[in-house]
Amino acid sequence: MVNLDKILVKELLKSFGNLKVLDNVTFSVKEGEFLCIVGPTGCGKTTLLKILANLIEADSGEVLINGSPPNPKLHKIGYVPQSISLMPWRNVYSNIKLGLELRGVKEAEIFRRVMEVINLVGLAGFENYFPHQLSLGMKARVAIARALVIDPDVMLMDEPLANLDWHSRSIMQSELLRLHEKAGKTTVYVTHNVEEALLLADRIVVLTSRPARVKTEIEVHFKKPRNRFEGDFVLLRKRIENLVKEEE
């Protein structure tokens, strides 16, 4: 079971009209693995993630999660969009429970699971706050909690920390590490921040500029939590940044 692919992406093609976005993208993600996808801005990373989340369809190619195409009946997808997208009319508690509510889980069970995840992500005491009363970092926590609460088969995150300042961003990076260690969710994490990818990832997939192809895959063996100022880390970061820069 150890080497079973949780997610398999095979020869994905996607165009919007004449604009070719994905060109033969192939990679796989192992059970429990934290995979980061990096690439130049606008290369099609978000499109790729939306295909994995079954939000848009590929023109051809295949996505398999646990061996079958993405299907809301079979799979639970923990999707965290780039814009966070909390519903302003729902408080923290109701925002987090959305996925359970849509799956028809009973209210008592919803309460138990939401409170558990609220404690897990460090939002205790904020249950009744509305999104506009929260900092960006808090909002990111809510969005992550909303994805985690359904006990997803895979977590798909689209630059959830993109809008944070450096300080809250580094706090949230450690939080993501802690959550991944604790919940052990197979994760695909899109970012264009190479340092962030190196802090979080077990493996990094580098995409070319549009149309995106897999340029290279890099296993990251440094022990977590990693020190972003340590020599080997910096060297690898520069190497990957150069790979991305070649594409820009």
Binding site: Y79, S85, M87, W89, R103
Partner: protein, 252 residues
């Protein structure tokens, strides 16, 4: 509301009445306008006491029927138009054809078409309230962020879930705006419609005009204003309850 705010508001009205009184008594304005004392006397007259309740109930009946119908038709129609593009394409030309016609212009149409004065007034308030509710509801459903829809879809939301759990709460502030505007326009229209013969406050006002009783005209006008004010306050109260989440987000 803070106590000081209430005091200032009451003082402001008191100041206006005193100013009005002296402008009339000292003949500063060269018009034969009654003083507030003259108007206040109307409120103690037997004519007023005998007729006011019936007139109010009659006008409110027109509002309840006409506005209720507008609400029942405009909100669902606006929802479908805002949510389903083909429906909007199909219906909006018809809406745009009728929308620029002022509701008062429908009075002649209604007087000929309906034999019952309740129907005439209710129809006019319906026309007045319908379009603001419809256009605001359409806007509310059309502007639902794709991001919210995508989040819900990633959780396997059905089409019905998207409409009821995402689009409807998103559209609610716009619907309520439409309701507020619609009620305001409708209230104007119903008074105007009653001037053509339907029993109610508008009818009494025009009767008082026929006998050149300006004090009474103004006395009933203030009743119309007070009722409109109460309705708006009622809606604001409702809005504050329903849109509790907006507290602190908008200046309010």
């Amino acid at each position: 509301m803070k106590r000081i705010e209430i005091i200032i508001k009451v003082m402001s009205i008191a100041f206006f009445i005193v100013l009005w009184h002296f402008l009339v008594v000292l003949k500063v304005i060269p018009l034969a306008i009654p003083s507030p004392v003259d108007v206040a006397k109307v409120y103690t007259s037997t004519f007023f006491v005998e007729h006011i309740l019936g007139a109010i109930l009659s006008s409110l009946e027109h509002v309840v029927v006409g506005f209720g119908l507008a609400l029942m038709v405009a909100v669902p129609l606006g929802m479908f138009m805002g949510w389903f593009k083909p429906i909007e394409f199909t219906i909006s030309p018809i809406v745009e054809l009728f929308r620029p016609i002022p509701p008062i212009a429908w009075v002649a149409f209604a007087l000929i078409t309906f034999r019952n004065y309740l129907h005439v007034s209710a129809f006019i308030i319906f026309v007045g309230a319908f379009f603001p509710i419809l256009t605001n509801t359409v806007h509310g459903f059309r502007t639902v962020s794709i991001e919210y829809i995508e989040v819900a879809r990633s959780f396997g939301a059905s089409k019905k879930d998207l409409l009821t759990k995402i689009a409807l709460p998103h559209a609610l502030p716009d619907i309520l705006t439409g309701v507020k505007v619609g009620l305001g326009v409708g209230w104007m229209c119903v008074i105007a419609a009653e001037m053509f013969g339907a029993p109610g406050l508008g009818w009494i006002i025009i009767q008082m005009e026929y006998i050149h009783n300006l004090e009474a005209v103004m006395a009933f006008m203030f009743v119309v204003g007070a009722l409109g004010f109460c309705m708006e306050q009622g809606l604001k109260f409702l809005e504050a309850k329903v849109l509790r989440w907006q507290r602190g987000l908008v200046r309010g």
